[in-house]
């Protein structure tokens, strides 16, 4: 905490948004986890008097948000950028219904794709859905602007999009906190079918209301203090927003700025006045030429993406260099082995991908920790597109391949992803008769984003016990007759079932059930680590091919091999780190030389 000022604390963007939601009187919040948005609800749940939940997907989360808003509550809905694609259906019509209680949708973009499959620029959604979008630059602004977003939502009868990026969500800075103030709307049933029932007749009227709202929001944008001019040298004027503002300010501190806190609609009058006040107008923005396109459409001359990259993350150095600064000579990088992420020691997914790596099949993958099954040494994933895609893609493959080839198609999907958007595709496989094998990797948690609960977990975000969805019954209910449950740590048993199910002339599901090693009950479990007898190890590398972080290859020179009493040809042996080993037993199952055993106690 800086100095002794109790009002100022150091928070991440996501922590600041959670704090702001509480201060704004939010009483309902729904989300599906997704980097870099997940920590918002993980923090909001710590505050009193707010109902928070993990929804099975972003569409559901937004619909929950809409309902709560119709009842008059202030609502926060959060998701990552690709999640807004899933929620786009309710989003576009929520723009018509508007709201009662303030409804703010936090959308977290991921330029540079630190943890995402694409880097779409979701400012485009604000334009397309005709919704206002606020965009802070740092946690301090995020806290202030989120509260403004709720006022904006209620005043203009509109959901408000609130865009963050990785370098706001996961950046910490000093913020000023305040007290909780409840919104002015009374929470009650307030029937208003002309506004809430979007049949064509009503929707046409609402469409006209939106036209009026757009005009009002334009005036608001021109008067909004979050769109501010910072006068400097007028030879260059920069229009920028979000984290790009901070990079630009760092690179060119002395020029004039129009800093946009509102990304849509744009403050046309302010932009014209600013453009007239500077000799050269430059737009500095991350990803798409969004401001630039719309400013050019106003007939204003400016430059932007002809200089500044439209892909990846910006930093001050890129802005400086793009705008004519001298490029610095950097010390050259040194070639060395990469250090990609890996599945944890004892991860149940590893056993599945080990088995798949031995089979001649096309593995249609999905989004989760198990996507890491793509990486060597397992290298057992052949496609991965978006949440829930694995099953639809596998079905498409079988329909195209036909004949016996369909027996070489496997879909791999996690429990959370299956319940997010995989189950419809499974119904399609049964209904439209394809015979691919679907592996549901059920580790009882949404692991990749940091162990969030899902409908199969048996617990809610708020820590209450919940009905744990039975995946086997669900698969049977959509018509899958062949549902088998295996323990993925049992490599040989799983291999047998896999081979049997691949041969089957019917849709089949294998539920691979073993909990994520990072959930509390597993962390607290007593572990009996494994160890390798150097004497018995022949250096066959079967266990090494599991790619477990606890297992490492120790190379031997012929002399060293000889001194250990081994054949000179033995190139090395394997070691297990007892500190890292989780005792899952997968390596024990693949070792043919009885070299691996449990560490003896004492």
């Amino acid at each position: 905490m800086a100095k002794a000022d109790s009002e100022k604390i150091w928070l991440s963007g996501n922590e600041a948004i959670a704090r702001a939601a509480w201060e704004a009187g939010v009483t309902v919040a729904s989300a599906y986890p997704g980097t870099p948005s997940t920590e918002i609800l993980e923090n909001l749940v710590k505050y009193n008097d707010v109902y928070t939940e993990w929804a099975p997907n972003e569409k559901v989360a937004l619909e929950v948000g809409l309902g709560a808003s119709f009842a008059g509550a202030r609502v926060l809905v959060t998701m990552k950028h690709v999640g807004l694609n899933v929620a786009a259906d309710p989003l576009f019509t929520a723009s018509y219904t508007g709201c009662r209680g303030g409804l703010v949708i936090v959308n977290a973009d991921d330029p540079e794709m630190h943890s995402s499959q694409n880097e779409q620029d979701n400012r485009n959604y604000a334009f397309a859905a005709k919704l206002p979008m606020l965009e802070p630059s740092d946690p301090k602004e995020a806290l202030v602007m989120l509260k403004e977003a709720f006022e904006l939502s209620e005043k203009y009868d509109t959901p408000v999009l609130f865009r963050t990026t990785t370098r706001l969500a996961h950046v910490k800075s000093l913020v000023t906190v305040g007290d909780r103030n409840m919104g002015p709307v009374e929470v009650k049933i307030d029937k208003d079918p002309a506004k809430f029932v979007m049949l064509p007749g009503n929707a046409r009227a609402r469409r006209q209301a939106m036209v009026g709202r757009q005009q009002e929001l334009l005036s608001f944008a021109d008067s909004y203090p979050g769109n501010r001019i910072e006068k400097g040298d007028t030879k260059k004027g920069i229009i920028t927003g979000g984290v790009a503002y901070l990079h630009a300010k760092e690179a060119l501190p002395d020029v004039s700025y129009l800093k946009l806190g509102m990304s849509w609609p744009l403050p046309e009058k302010k932009i014209r006045d600013f453009a007239d006040s500077v000799d050269e107008l430059i737009i500095v923005e991350e990803l798409d030429p969004f401001y630039e396109t719309h400013i050019k459409a106003m007939g204003i001359t400016c430059t932007g993406k002809d200089k500044i990259p439209a892909t990846g993350e910006l930093n001050a150095a890129i802005v400086r260099k793009s705008l004519g600064g001298e490029s610095e000579t950097l010390l050259p990088p040194v070639e060395m082995p990469m250090r990609p992420p890996n599945m944890c020691p004892g991860c149940p997914h590893r056993g599945i991908f080990y088995n798949l790596s031995k089979l001649d099949v096309f593995v249609s993958g999905d989004i989760g920790c198990y996507t890491l099954g793509f990486l060597p040494p397992l290298s057992a994933m052949d496609s991965c597109v978006c949440m829930g895609a694995s099953i639809g893609v596998a079905h498409g493959l079988t329909k195209a391949l036909g004949g016996e080839q369909y027996k070489k198609t496997v879909a791999v999907i996690g429990d959370s992803t299956f319940l997010h958007s995989g189950v419809n595709s499974l119904a399609n496989m049964v209904y439209n008769k394809s015979h691919a094998t679907v592996l549901i990797l059920d580790n009882r948690i949404t692991a990749m984003t940091g162990q969030q609960q899902n409908p199969a977990s048996g617990e809610t975000l708020m820590g209450e016990a919940a009905q744990a969805l039975n995946l086997e019954q669900l698969c049977r209910a959509v018509g899958v007759e062949h549902v088998t449950t295996v323990n993925p740590h049992d490599i040989k048993g799983t291999d047998k079932i896999l081979k049997e199910e691949l041969k089957r002339d019917a849709t089949s599901v294998i539920i691979c059930q073993a909990p994520c090693v990072l959930i509390p009950e597993m962390r607290n479990k007593k572990i009996t680590p494994l160890t390798i007898s150097v004497d018995n190890c022949t250096g066959c590398q079967a266990c090494v091919r599991l790619g477990c972080p606890a297992i490492s290859w120790q190379p031997l020179t012929p002399e060293e091999a000889k001194s250990l009493g081994k054949r000179e040809k033995q190139k090395g042996y394997t070691k297990i780190s007892t500190e890292m080993c989780n005792g899952c037993g997968q390596c024990l199952a693949v070792c043919k030389f009885e070299a691996i055993s449990e560490v003896e106690e004492g």
Binding site: K3, H114, D138, H170, A316, V334, P337, P376
Partner: protein, 193 residues
Amino acid sequence: MKPSGNILFSGVGGQGILLASEITAYALMETGLDAKKSEVHGMAQRGGSVVAHLRYGDTVYSPLIDPGHADFVVAFETMEAVRYLPFMHKDTKVVVNTHKIAPPSVATGKATYPHDILAELAKHNIATFRVDGFEIARTVGEIRAANLALVGALSSFLPVEEDVFLAVMKKRLPRKLEENIAAFKKGREITSL
């Protein structure tokens, strides 16, 4: 003019980089400086390379350190110091844990851990301070205290009194305070000679 600087923390997921960078940031802020920290979660963790940028000064704008502008690199793993060479300049001070963790390609025998990798820093005359974090942690009796030993080694170079660091640690470390303080002091000794 208030002091300003850029500290890059690097290492492998799960090494306590987060806590180390937070303790450092809070100590800097105690002296009235502004501080911003940037890190990446999600896919980038899981045993992969992890990096956190910490910037301090009168007012900090960008949350990211520009390549060539890290004044200090605190590496929790040996190779992970050298990976960030393009972020260093001729006066960068590197505090490096001599502990080595094999990346997957090395652990699976497809590559070897580079021999004497720190020579790459010496080549450019970069001041490098080696800390045997693992050994210090063992000596103080808390295996997870290696990160505080590295913070201790870094602390000698920062415009913050030792007492401020100790006060921050007392306030922010939930347990094993004595062991962590001992590790911090042992780290600090290495660079304050």
